[in-house]
């Protein structure tokens, strides 16, 4: 049962990434250099719609709060995001879109993915040292927290009604998605 869900949901996600244009590195690079922001509009719109349906669904009870999963905030999140951004700009791929692009026949994506295996392995070997000698993995600002209350085991930062805040943030993302021009340069 779980594996059939994995196949159905994974196929849907890969299909969506491709139709959103995210598996084409040209679109990623054009988004980052502001020459074509349609993919940015797509991403912002997707986050906004997801947020509204998620918080509405949690409130109405058709989405199980036990499925909410909040990742920890630590300095490594910012440092790792910044590092990822360097490779993202060079290649035009992130981990998911790199694998998906490889499947659509992009040969540079194969080298990206191979580099990814090497990078993930280097991190696997470095983690013990990094954990012991740096504060990269120490929780900051509350660790596994969300802004809006989700009704799950995770803490939240804002006292405002969670459903309301989740929906308002979702609307804000949709507003920005609409406001962002299709290109800036």
């Amino acid at each position: 049962m779980e594996l059939s869900l994995a196949i159905a949901l994974g196929t849907l996600f890969g299909f969506a990434l491709n139709r959103a244009g995210a598996t084409n590195p040209e679109n990623i690079i054009n988004m980052l250099r502001f020459t074509d922001l349609r993919l940015m509009k797509t991403i912002l719109f997707a986050i906004g719609v997801s947020s509204i349906v998620l918080f509405g669904g949690l409130k109405l009870g058709f989405i199980d709060a036990g499925h909410v999963s909040i990742k920890a905030a630590h300095l490594g999140v910012i440092a790792g995001g910044a590092l990822l951004g360097v490779g993202f700009a060079i290649a035009g791929y992130c981990p998911g879109t790199g694998l998906a692009a490889l499947a659509t026949g992009r040969k540079d994506a194969l080298f990206f993915v191979l580099g990814g295996f090497a990078g993930a392995f280097a991190f696997t070997l470095s983690y013990g040292w990094l954990k012991a000698n740096t504060s990269l993995f120490d929780s900051i600002l509350g660790g596994k927290v969300s802004l809006a209350e989700t009704g799950s085991k995770y803490e939240h930062l804002m006292t405002m009604d969670g459903t309301m805040l989740g929906i308002l943030l979702g609307l804000a993302f949709i507003g920005i998605a609409i406001a962002v021009p299709k290109s800036l340069r």
Binding site: G96, F111, G116
Partner: protein, 192 residues
């Protein structure tokens, strides 16, 4: 700016992506990809050195590893690497299949041999030598996955799944990601 071939208008693309992210949360859990690079590595590592994943009744998951990362959270990664036919790993394989399927039925795919080797933005700025592009794609992949594991997630897990749940870490991740990727892309890809 031309019409994207095989790509939906931005709002429709956004809705389709939202359906994918929401379905995952509705039925199982938020989408994430980058962890599976570690699982694949560990599965191969275990074939070369069978001591790296051990069955251990004292561990929470029943598995442990002498490697601190694979042993983290009660040996969660060690367990998944010992059983690669688990939800998250199969999800990522299916994601590749989904992208292939879409590309076969008029979705986005490289339209020429040249485009299958590198995006136009690359050849415009760095020439058409594929070896150069492949070396840099490898280096970029290394940096991306090292960064993703340092952050504890990637664009799917931290940014999309995280921000839809209003998770603080999702916002921090996006901040770091765009702080470097936007200036670097503008500097690297000047010619267009």
């Amino acid at each position: 700016m031309c019409k994207y071939k095989g790509v939906l208008p931005w709002a429709l693309g956004g809705i389709l992506l939202a359906v994918a992210f929401l379905s995952a949360v509705l039925f199982v859990k938020p989408i994430g990809v980058s962890t599976q690079f570690v699982i694949a590595d560990a599965a191969v590592w275990d074939v070369i050195n069978p001591d790296i994943i051990q069955e251990n009744t004292e561990s929470k998951t029943g598995y442990s590893s002498p490697n601190a990362y694979l042993n983290k959270s009660g040996g969660k990664y060690a367990k998944n690497a010992a059983n690669p036919l688990n939800y998250s790993f199969v999800f990522v394989l299916a994601m590749m299949f989904g992208a292939l399927l879409s590309s076969k039925i008029s979705g986005d795919k490289p339209e020429s041999k040249q485009e299958s080797l590198m995006p136009k933005a690359w050849s415009d700025n760095f020439g058409t030598r594929s070896k150069k592009r492949f070396i840099w794609a490898f280096i970029a992949g290394f940096i991306v996955l090292f960064g993703a594991r340092l952050a504890g997630g990637c664009t799917s897990g931290h940014m999309m799944s995280g921000m839809m749940q209003t998770s603080l870490s999702g916002y921090l991740f996006a901040l770091g990601l765009f702080a470097t990727s936007i200036p670097l892309a503008i500097i690297l890809y000047k010619k267009r």
